[in-house]
């Protein structure tokens, strides 16, 4: 777990299904990497390997030491019984006093910016689209060095996408971002993104 954010000769299979075979890629820090490829090609597996949620069957996955991670998943993965602000603040749940107030103010501003209500409802009462935005904000405000996004804008309408990305882009501009998507047009959100394709068990620089 030291050095660069990279895969070296990584094999990964689930039972008989081979997802990655000898996949290698090094992700340059401080910039956005767009991971494209057909469904089931292994984009999610790649992100899960980098997040430490899966172990490679062969090869190695490395991260710079002390890396703080944030991620959005295929699912929202919110605590249903907590408010939007409590969910977003989960990685900072230890904050107290003035630091807490300052972070809360930031959260409220963020919720407003992406068109979410600021209220005391638990998120189980929010719609699917609203929950997705909460999950995105949790990742963006987590104060991480490396952000992993697994098709975060899937199913979101065009207008909401613009609204969300207007807020999100400046915040993640200088960070290492891995952005899995079906839609190559999402590259427009990042200055000069690195394009990758995940297919046939490998990760290829385009």
């Amino acid at each position: 777990m030291s050095g660069e954010l990279a895969l070296r000769g990584v094999d990964k299979r689930y039972g008989d299904i081979v997802v990655l075979t000898g996949a290698s890629a090094a992700f340059e820090p401080g910039r956005a990497h767009l991971l494209m490829g057909p469904s089931g090609a292994g984009k999610t597996t790649l992100l899960r390997l980098l997040a430490g949620l899966e172990r490679p069957d062969g090869g190695e996955v490395t991260l710079p030491s002390g890396t703080r991670l944030a991620m959005t998943f295929q699912e929202d993965r919110l605590c249903d019984n907590l408010t939007a602000t409590a969910n977003i603040r989960l990685p900072h749940a230890h904050l107290r006093g003035a630091a807490l107030e300052a972070f809360l103010a930031r959260e409220r501003e963020a919720l407003g910016a992406v068109g979410l209500p600021v209220d005391s409802r638990p998120v189980r009462e929010l719609s699917g689209g609203q929950r997705r935005r909460v999950a995105i904000l949790r990742a963006v405000l987590a104060d991480a060095d490396v952000l992993l996004f697994d098709e975060p804008l899937k199913g979101m309408d065009e207008k909401t996408v613009e609204q969300v990305m207007d807020y999100v882009c400046p915040l993640i501009a200088a960070k290492t971002v891995l952005w899995a998507t079906h839609d190559p047009r999402e590259g427009r959100f990042f200055p000069d993104p690195t394009l990758w394709e995940v297919r046939d068990g490998g990760v290829f620089h385009l």
């Binding site: 997040a51 430490g52 949620l53 703080r68 991670l69 944030a70 991620m71 998943f73 699912e75 993965r77 605590c79 249903d80 019984n81 907590l82 408010t83 602000t85 409590a86 989960l90 990685p91 749940a93 230890h94 809360l104 959260e107 005391s120 409802r121 638990p122 949790r138 987590a142 991480a144 992993l148």
Partner: protein, 247 residues
């Protein structure tokens, strides 16, 4: 809906009163009017309130201790496999053995005045233990994965992820335990006969064939049970809602 419910209650009260008049034997059945009068008379005596208070206090003590033990041991058992396997037969036995057997057995060990405390504990503990353990086990593994990725601190994980998943289970368990402990505690008093308790008065009513007293005390037990359920239930719901609404 409320009107229909009220009408149904009135119907059965009327049937009860008519039956009492028809049977016309106070030892077998007394009507609701007479029961109400008897209860009103009882309620003016200090002994009535002292008895209700003493029964309630002891059973509440056992209940709270049972809830506390259930929560602590469920949390421990969810972490320590051995403890969980060790407790399984004990909890199973506590649930399966009839309360009357426990009452007689426990009377051999403790004084009759402590009996209802122990019985209330025996009723509450397995319910709370099983429900809270279930809640912990059901905690979404996807949320725990998420917490791993974000590096959520252990205390925050416990406080927010586990707690938010377990609280609804806890809420149900407390409601169930409350009703059961109260009824079983009174039943224990009827057998153990500690002085100045509801159970003792029920027993006296039986011995002296004082059916109005029997009915009046029974009504008092039901009223306390319903009131407790409503008060505790509402307090828990309010606390839960407040906890969920935190920013």
């Amino acid at each position: 809906m409320w009107g229909v419910r009220l009408l149904a209650v009135c119907f059965w009260l009327l049937v009860w009163q008519l039956a009492a008049w028809a049977i016309d034997a106070r030892i077998i059945l007394v009507g609701p009017l007479e029961v109400l009068a008897r209860l009103a008379a009882l309620a003016t005596t200090g002994e009535f309130w002292a008895s209700v208070g003493l029964s309630l206090g002891r059973i509440a003590l056992g209940l709270v201790a049972g809830i506390a033990a259930g929560v602590v041991l469920a949390a421990a058992a969810s972490r320590v496999r051995v403890l969980r396997e060790l407790l399984a037969p004990l909890v199973g036995a506590l649930k399966a053995v009839p309360v009357a057997s426990f009452v007689i057995l426990v009377l051999l060990w403790v004084s009759s005045s402590s009996l209802s405390i122990v019985i209330a504990w025996i009723m509450a503990f397995p319910i709370v233990y099983a429900n809270v353990l279930e809640g912990i086990e059901q905690t979404d593994s996807q949320l725990l994965e998420m917490a791993d990725v974000f590096g959520v601190r252990p205390l925050d994980r416990l406080r927010l992820i586990y707690l938010s998943q377990v609280l609804p289970y806890f809420r149900v368990a407390v409601s169930l335990a409350l009703g059961l402990s109260w009824k079983a505690g009174i039943a224990a008093e009827v057998i153990g006969l500690p002085d100045l308790t509801i159970g003792e008065h029920l027993y006296d009513a039986k011995v002296y064939l004082d059916t109005p007293d029997l009915f009046a005390w029974t009504v008092a037990i039901v009223v306390v049970s319903v009131a407790l359920e409503a008060i505790v239930g509402r307090a828990l719901d309010a606390a839960l809602a407040r906890w969920e609404a935190r920013p």
